[in-house]
């Protein structure tokens, strides 16, 4: 089982929960999840023996519908809402309930619902991964390198908030859609970043989180109200950066910094997609941070080598990015670009301005960048001290190996 069937169960779980929640109502999210669990247990039993059917989506859809009807029959005496729902499920053909167009809107509706403004950004992403991408609580927790118990609490609380709101987001209401869209874009951006820069040691987890962010962004682009220049910019930055993933983290789980990456391993199809999206993003007047990040990623994608990269242009783009969305990480990247274009001493001077920032304190690549620049200035001891500080902050074995190699480089 590979190719099209990769992650089939996960994605189908998300699709069917989203559809059942439309039928049952948001307050019955837990019921929808139970039904999906039951349908998947049946699939597991039958497919173990018979293999995966020709059309697994259709099989799961019909099974989920039957499980839903059973669940409603069990509830009928207890609850007054069941008869109308049973009628809706029984009278409509499964294809109508779960058709591809419906499925897309269900996905978006759930995605917008998960981005509830009263939820923290982390909770939003956790919910998206759990409900729409079919990650179990443990899998979400391990992707974020957090304890399962804490994640369970967070997800349960977030689901309760959704269920209490009792209504699903209405994706056909333009005003609400436009208001919520930036929150959704931001959640998808953070999901992608979690994949790209996140703490997990597992290369597969990184690739999966990035792939999910890209899949959901693609769904956003299919909706007439979702396909804005800013959404295209978001898609472009994801494709252009994800293109480097195969070279960034190799199969052995080793991390390669940009200058040391084998550019032949960059994914040319994603780069082509990225440039196509970048073109589509160049409409209207809005210049979002995503536009600038996409432009930076595009300069990397075009460059023949790290040395042949237009670092001055990249530094200038970071200037703009800092002006519209300041963050210590952006400042750090800007300093690195300046170091590349104007020399390590200038880069260090820029780094000095963000030295005390609380938000960089736990981030190993801040110290690592300082070490790198000191090393280039020939100050090996200082460099080594920075790398050792970075090592103490490393979040997983991959980062530890990477930083240890840099410490060794100081001693050569």
């Amino acid at each position: 089982m590979s190719g099209d069937l990769e992650h089939l169960f996960r994605r189908e779980a998300g699709r069917i929960v989203a559809t059942l929640t439309r039928i049952f109502g948001m307050h019955n999210l837990a019921l929808a999840e139970d039904v999906v669990q039951e349908a998947f247990c049946r699939a597991l039993e039958v497919w173990k023996f018979g293999g995966v059917p020709q059309n697994p989506s259709a099989w799961l859809t019909v099974t989920a519908r039957n499980c839903a009807l059973d669940a409603l029959r069990r509830q009928r005496t207890a609850d007054s809402f069941a008869p109308q729902l049973s009628y809706a499920l029984e009278s409509a053909a499964a294809e109508e309930l779960f058709g591809p167009g419906e499925a897309r809107d269900d996905l978006l509706r759930m995605m917008f619902s998960c981005c509830h403004p009263r939820l923290s950004e982390t909770a939003q992403i956790a919910l998206i991964l759990h409900i729409l991408c079919g990650f179990s609580v443990e899998e979400v927790a391990s992707a974020f390198l957090q304890g399962a118990a804490a994640m369970e609490k967070r997800i349960t609380r977030a689901k309760k908030l959704l269920a209490d709101s009792r209504r699903l987001f209405d994706v056909s209401a333009p005003r609400e859609f436009v208001t919520r869209l930036p929150v959704v874009q931001s959640a998808l951006y953070l999901l992608f970043n979690e994949g790209y820069h996140g703490a997990s040691a597992d290369a597969a987890v990184h690739a999966e989180l990035c792939a999910e962010a890209m899949r959901l962004t693609a769904a956003l682009l299919e909706h007439p109200l979702g396909a804005t220049p800013t959404s295209y910019a978001l898609a472009a930055l994801m494709c252009l950066n994800a293109a480097r993933l195969p070279a960034r983290l190799d199969a052995a789980g080793d991390l390669h910094a940009l200058p040391d990456q084998d550019r032949a391993r960059w994914d040319q199809r994603r780069i082509a997609d990225g440039f196509r999206f970048l073109e589509l993003s160049a409409h209207g007047t809005e210049l979002s941070p995503y536009h600038i990040e996409a432009a930076i990623a595009a300069l990397h994608a075009r460059a023949p080598s790290a040395a042949g990269t237009d670092w001055a242009q990249i530094a200038a783009l970071y200037d703009t990015l800092i002006a519209i969305r300041p963050s210590p990480i952006v400042a750090l990247n800007r300093a690195i670009a300046i170091a590349e274009s104007e020399g390590p001493e200038r880069g260090l001077a820029e780094m000095g301005q963000i030295a005390g920032d609380e938000r960089l304190r736990g981030y190993p690549f801040h110290s690592a960048a300082l070490g790198e620049l000191e090393l280039r200035c020939g100050r090996r001891e200082r460099a080594s001290a920075h790398f050792r500080a970075a090592l103490s902050l490393a979040r997983n074995p991959t980062e530890q190996r990477f930083i240890t190699q840099r410490i060794q480089a100081c001693e050569r």
Partner: protein
């Protein structure tokens, strides 16, 4: 060659869809390897967890309601040289990774 029935008992479904998919993949691979080596006579079927139980008084009741770990969830038919070879084949069954059991029962021959 003799015939053996594999009875699959218990085994917990994994908690996440991704893991479920992996279980399906493992079973498919295991049954295929038995078939490729010529041991599999009939891959068999899964069984519903409950049906009806009819007792001596011809009373029909719902059931059985055994504990999940004791319930037969499915069966296959294999051929092997002897029971110990059949048991060796059963050692590869993915159900063992999820707390389940395989019961290997020789099929008695009807020719006397």
């Amino acid at each position: 060659m003799n015939e053996y029935v594999f009875l699959y008992r218990g085994g917990n479904p994994p908690p996440s869809p991704e893991q479920m998919q992996q279980v399906v993949q493992k079973w498919t691979a295991w049954l295929k390897s038995l078939a490729d080596q010529g041991y599999l006579l009939d891959r068999g079927h899964p069984l519903e967890r409950s049906g009806k139980v009819i007792d001596g008084g011809k009373v029909i009741t719902d059931g059985p309601f055994a504990e999940a770990k004791d319930l037969v969830g499915g069966f296959s038919l294999v051929k092997a040289r002897d029971v110990s070879q059949a048991a060796q084949l059963a050692l590869g069954c993915p159900i063992l990774e999820r707390g389940g059991q395989v019961e290997v029962r020789p099929v008695m021959k009807l020719d006397v």
